[in-house]
Each structure stands twice: as structure tokens, then as C-alpha cells.
């Protein structure tokens, strides 16, 4: 039985291991133990704090195996990206170059350094132990954050975003970095990733292009990967899509990976949420898999459980699930179908 919960200082050893193992690096989890400890402490404070609007809070979650107590994953939410420093992304603008005399018109894309995402809540620091089989754990780890956001709206902005890994080749070389970042930094992508610690450091203003970068003037290889997730991020991409995230006109300044954004109101965690009353049962119900979350007295928990599609039947949960969620008969839990119904209203229409 896997469940997601806020991290605590006792998790430090496991977190340190994950931080060192994760590839590519997790900027939200420093390798240095003391810095990591500070992050975990900040997270604990953040979960405890009374918050009226998003600020410097940082929420760190872990995926725990209830049977062994082992931690198998982590993910986080930054309440306001670039809280104290601007958060940088490239905005991909379309410029129309048209001439009436020549009867020509073309859309020319240009990448402009933008601070537009600064202050928005950001999903970050996703990591899953590679030993876990199947996609369910990844879905749970990733989307539990949205379940938390749905239950704690004041703590986050109405729009949240997530930066996915851009394309790199087998040698870890990013074609976009080679064409753009390298010219400004004069260094390898991997070195800068480790040194820089994120996308909200002031050195970016010093080093990255202050003028827009015309896309058609870049080498083909760089143009091709613009806004494309790396193979390693395809699962994450699918998970975000399932939640209702969409690609926007932003891409990462280093590897041109896509920035995905979602309006919380329209995301699955809110739009498809059903509050259900817990019923005790010996066995799990028959039905589709749901994300089930409880947030009793700030003790957030999230699991995957099969529930009947009949909302009125409530959340029939066996003991192991109730225990992982910390709920009893009669408590209310948030339930969101893990997947969109396969038969949506468009699927039957002729193409």
C-alpha cells in the first residue's frame, strides 16, 4: 500500500539518497545535507503555517510504502516560483512579418526572456524510485500535489505550472543548449544545471540573452526540440495532461522543455472532485481507480483506491487504506478519478 504524505525531518536520510540519485538533478532538493535539512524544515513549517496567500512556502511530499515504511518517491510544490528572485522562462511569441506590396505574410517565432511565471505556484522536484513497476505510483506521486492544492486553495495561485525535462541525447547533450545556452555560458549544460540550482537565480539575468532569439535562425536540431518533452518525461507529460495541464507559450530557458500550465478550477482535482463519506469494509470496492485524499487537521494523505462509480455509495475502503489515510467510518475524503472516462463525449464522432 503506497501513500503520499508531507515529508518530515525523520525522512532526511531517505531524501538525501533520493536527491543524490535523481537524474537529472532536482533543484528543489539540494545534495548538501544541511541545505536539505533546511528545505525539509521549511516544508514542515509551510504545511503548519496559516497561509492566506502564497509566499515563500515550499511543500515537500514523499511516497511511502505502508508495509515497510520505506520512502519510494518525492515531489514538491513551490507556492510562488521565484518568490524572492524572478523566475525565468522563454516566452515563445509569434511575430507577423507581412508586406502588402509583396503579398507575403509569415509568422516568425521569437523567444523572449520572461518573468511572467514569477509568483505562480509550481509543481517541482518529482522523483520516483526506479524499482517501482507500472505507472500507478508515478500518477499517485505527481497528482497527490494537485489533490493537496485542491484542498488548500488559499495557499496557491489560481494557475499552476510545471516545467518538464527537455530533449537531450544519449550523451546528455541538449541540442537547444548547444545552439543557445552554450553561446552565452560557454559551458556544458550538465555543469550549469548542477551549479545553477534552478531558473530563478540572478546570474541568468547576467548571462542569458536580453534580446529575443529568433527561432527560424536557429539550427534545425534546436528548433525541433523546442517545447518537446524528453522521452524520460513522457510519462510525466501524460500524467499532467490527465490532470488537465496544457502546453503554454513558455519553454525552459536551458533545454527548451515545455512549461505546462493548469487553471486549478478546471483541473481534474477540482472539476472532477467528489467528496465522499468513508464506509468501512473488509474488501475493496469494484470500480475504477480514484485518487483519494484526506486532509484532516492538516494531516494530508493521498492514496489510490478502487471505488464504485456510484457516488452515493460513498468511499468503501478496506482497513489498510483507511489506516494509510488516517480516516474512519463517517469521515469525508476527496475522490478524483485517476483517468478520464474512456468514453468521452467526442470519441464516438466521425473524424
Amino acid at each position: 500500500m503506497l501513500f503520499v504524505r508531507p515529508s518530515r525531518l525523520a525522512d532526511l536520510d531517505a531524501l538525501e539518497h533520493m536527491a543524490r540519485t535523481a537524474q537529472p538533478v532536482l533543484h528543489s532538493l539540494p545534495h548538501d545535507r544541511r541545505a536539505l535539512e533546511a528545505r525539509v524544515a521549511l516544508s514542515e513549517d509551510s504545511f503548519r503555517a496559516e497561509v492566506d496567500f502564497p509566499g515563500e512556502e515550499f511543500y515537500l511530499f514523499v511516497l511511502e510504502d505502508a508495509a515497510t515504511g520505506k520512502l519510494l518517491g518525492t515531489a514538491s510544490i513551490v507556492a510562488a516560483a521565484g518568490y524572492s528572485e524572478p523566475f525565468y522562462a522563454f516566452r515563445n511569441d509569434a511575430l507577423i512579418h507581412a508586406s502588402r506590396e509583396l503579398h507575403v505574410s509569415r509568422k516568425i517565432h521569437a523567444l523572449t526572456m520572461s518573468h511572467e511565471l514569477t509568483g505562480k505556484s509550481r509543481l517541482a522536484g518529482f522523483y520516483i524510485d526506479p524499482s517501482l513497476r507500472g505507472d500507478a505510483a508515478a500518477h499517485l506521486m505527481s497528482r497527490a500535489r494537485m489533490m493537496y492544492i485542491a484542498a488548500n486553495r488559499k495557499r496557491f495561485t489560481p494557475e499552476v505550472f510545471s516545467l518538464l525535462l527537455g530533449v537531450t541525447d544519449d550523451a546528455g547533450v541538449s541540442p537547444f543548449w548547444e545552439a543557445v545556452g552554450r553561446k552565452f555560458f560557454g559551458r556544458n549544460f550538465a555543469d550549469i544545471e548542477v551549479e545553477s540550482g534552478g531558473r530563478s537565480r540572478t546570474f541568468i539575468a547576467e548571462v542569458m540573452p536580453s534580446y529575443p532569439v529568433y527561432v527560424p535562425l536557429l539550427p534545425e536540431a534546436a528548433q525541433r526540440v523546442l517545447g518537446e518533452p524528453d522521452e524520460k518525461a513522457l510519462l510525466a507529460y501524460d500524467i499532467h495532461q490527465e490532470e488537465g495541464f496544457e502546453t503554454d507559450r513558455y519553454v525552459d530557458i536551458f533545454d527548451a522543455g515545455p512549461v505546462l500550465t493548469a487553471q486549478i478550477d478546471r483541473a481534474a482535482c477540482v472539476a472532477r472532485n467528489e467528496n465522499r463519506v468513508v464506509h468501512e469494509a473488509a474488501a475493496a470496492a469494484q470500480g475504477p481507480t480514484y485518487l483519494v485524499a484526506s486532509n484532516r487537521e492538516g494531516r494530508f494523505r493521498c492514496v489510490l483506491a478502487d471505488l464504485s462509480v456510484d457516488r452515493a455509495s460513498g468511499a468503501v475502503l478496506p482497513a489498510a487504506v483507511r489506516e494509510a489515510l488516517g480516516v474512519q467510518d463517517g469521515d469525508t475524503v476527496r475522490c478524483v478519478p485517476l483517468h478520464q472516462a474512456t468514453q468521452n463525449e467526442y470519441s464516438g464522432e466521425a473524424q
Partner: protein, 343 residues
């Protein structure tokens, strides 16, 4: 004697014939009778002081006085960009540095500029292949500086010359392929034709509005910035010997260099002298010395290369050369002694 002189209305037929020798590439000198007649007329109005500042332009022809053959042309625009904008890229330097990361990088960026607005421009030089022998091209090019030296009040403070950029073995511009083709959406020759015929509206509509980072372009395109077409290298050397320099302005289509300088710094302006003429055979001890010699008339300005050097404040011309330059004993001439090998 081969002389360069101010164009006359009667030269139009000869100009049309000469323009047939140009072939593709030189967009400002085509066998178009109306256009050439208009150009001659514009030069005439300029001479008479009846041309508005934006249209003032001088036009010269090279003539073999022995045969009357017109074998070359060249021009000076008095002030560019006063009606249609005069566009160039200014090649600027951008440094990115971070002390924290120990990073310091320098790159070039191309900025659309009108910096050269109001400059005079030497332009439209064409010499018939039949006359491409030693010294003739130099005479044709430098004749304009003799004119400017003689009539400085007719020109602004600065002057420029646009040189053709680098084209690859297939006759295509790598810079155009990497930059211009994406923005202008027509082929190079069409863009060049429109631009050189005063139809520049499309430039403003289509050109890059933001600076272009040179270092982000393909390497072959980077190499083009400020690089002269191989055929134009002799012209560049000539202009550089005259004192013009590449000052980080390049053409917006092929990234060929623009050379520029203050008119007061032109070698011809600084070193030429005005002296009276005497008629006679060249002095023996001037053997091998030659000079650019012009008369001082505006409407019948003529310049040619003659043997000799000024001596004791006088320049001695043969009777034939004096006739070719339309000067008589006692008239003054402007003389620029040529260094050996030059001419």
C-alpha cells in the same frame, strides 16, 4: 587620354550600350533607358543646384578621348537616406558575464540602424571588362574623391561605400540563407532589386525588429558578417587606401561591409594640391611619376592620369592631355601625386 568626366545629356545612348555589359549582380546600372536618362537628368539638376537634398547625386562617365568610347561609370550620392530610409546592420558587441559562475562571453549582435543617414555615398562603379587594365579602375574610383576635394561645400561631413558581401561557389549568400530569406520571403535578387530601386517599404515591414545574435547563426553565415565578395576585394583595398574603414556597419541582405570615414580625412582631400598649369613635355627627372589631375570646373569636371609631379608650384601637362582635360596654360588644376604602383 582616358578621362572621367561629369555625365552629359548626350551620353544616354552610350550608357545604355555600356549597361548591356554588366550581367547580373549590379542592380544600380541596368540597360534601362528611362532609368538612365532620369539618372543623368538628376545629376544635371544637382550640378545646377536645383536638386532637393534627398535627390542630390553626381554621375560620372569614363571616356577614352582618342575614340570617344564610354567605358565606365561611377557616382556619388550627396546624402543617403533622406527620403527612403538607408538601412544597415550595426554590428554591436554584447558581453555576458557572471562573477559568481566565472563566466565571461562576448558576442556580436546585428542591430537595424539608420546610422549612416545623411552620409555621402560613393556608388554605381562599373568598368567595362575591355578596360580592366592597370590603373584604369583606380582612376575611375578615385575620380570621385578628386571631385569631392574640389567641391567640399557640396558634401556632408562623412562618406561611405557599400561593398558586396560574400557569396559561395553557387553564387548564393550564406548570410541571406540564414537570415534574410526567413524574413523577406522573396529571393535575394528580388529583394536587392526592390531595395535599390527605392521600393523599401517591404524592408520596414519584414525586417527583423529585434537585434540578431550573430553567434546563434550557422558558422558559414557568421563568417559573412563584414566579409567582402572576392571580386570586390580590389575595390575594398582602393577605398581603404583612400582612408575609408570598416566601422561595424554591414549590408542587411548579404552582410557585406560598409566602409566609411570623414571626408576631411580622405587621402585625396588631404594630399591633393591646386596649382597652375604649364604646357610642355614632361620633365625627364619625373620619369615614372604620375599624378591624378583634374580641372577645377564644376560643369565640365574632368580628371585623368598624367605623367609628372608638381614642381615649384606648377604642373606641366602635355598639349594633348591639357586638351583632354580642357585646360589651358595658366588655368589651375588639382593634382594628386600617385605613389608608385598606384594609379
Amino acid at each position: 587620354m582616358i578621362v572621367v568626366r561629369v555625365v552629359q545629356t548626350g551620353d544616354v545612348d552610350a550608357l545604355v550600350a555600356l549597361a548591356h555589359e554588366t550581367g547580373p549582380g549590379l542592380t544600380t546600372f541596368k540597360p534601362d533607358r528611362d532609368a538612365l536618362a532620369a539618372r543623368v537628368e538628376r545629376a544635371r539638376r544637382t550640378m545646377e543646384g536645383n536638386a532637393a537634398p534627398h535627390e542630390a547625386g553626381y554621375f560620372f562617365v569614363m571616356e577614352d578621348t582618342a575614340t570617344g568610347d564610354v567605358a565606365g561609370v561611377c557616382g556619388i550620392e550627396a546624402a543617403v537616406g533622406l527620403e527612403q530610409p538607408f538601412y544597415n546592420y550595426r554590428v554591436s558587441t554584447v558581453v555576458h558575464a557572471s562573477q559568481d559562475l566565472g563566466i565571461w562571453t562576448k558576442m556580436r549582435a546585428l542591430n537595424i540602424s539608420h546610422d549612416l543617414t545623411g552620409y555621402a555615398e560613393v556608388c554605381s562603379l562599373f568598368l567595362s571588362p575591355r578596360y580592366r587594365t592597370s590603373g584604369v579602375g583606380g582612376l575611375l574610383s578615385r575620380s570621385r574623391f578628386m571631385f569631392i576635394a574640389q567641391f567640399p561645400e557640396r558634401f556632408p561631413q562623412r562618406i561611405c561605400a557599400e561593398l558586396r558581401g560574400h557569396f559561395d561557389a553557387n553564387g548564393s549568400s550564406p548570410f541571406w540563407r540564414a537570415v534574410g530569406s526567413h524574413f523577406y520571403q522573396i529571393d535575394f535578387n528580388a529583394a536587392d532589386y526592390l531595395s535599390s530601386h527605392g521600393r523599401k517599404a517591404f524592408l520596414a515591414e519584414l525586417m527583423p525588429r529585434y537585434p540578431v545574435y550573430v553567434d546563434l547563426l550557422p558558422e558559414e553565415a557568421q563568417a559573412c558578417v563584414g566579409l567582402t565578395h572576392s571580386d570586390t576585394i580590389p575595390a575594398r583595398r582602393m577605398l581603404e587606401a583612400e582612408g575609408l574603414r570598416y566601422e561595424n556597419h554591414v549590408d542587411i541582405f548579404d552582410a557585406g561591409p560598409v566602409l566609411e570615414c570623414h571626408i576631411a580625412d580622405l587621402r585625396t582631400v588631404r594630399e591633393s594640391v591646386v596649382v597652375p598649369v604649364e604646357i610642355g613635355a614632361p620633365r625627364v627627372h619625373h620619369d615614372g611619376q604620375r599624378a591624378l589631375v583634374s580641372n577645377t570646373s564644376l560643369t565640365d569636371f574632368r580628371v585623368g592620369v598624367a605623367p609628372g609631379a608638381p614642381e615649384e608650384g606648377v604642373f606641366r601637362l602635355s598639349a594633348d592631355d591639357a586638351a583632354a582635360l580642357d585646360v589651358r596654360a595658366g588655368d589651375t588644376v588639382r593634382v594628386l601625386p600617385l605613389k608608385s604602383k598606384q594609379g
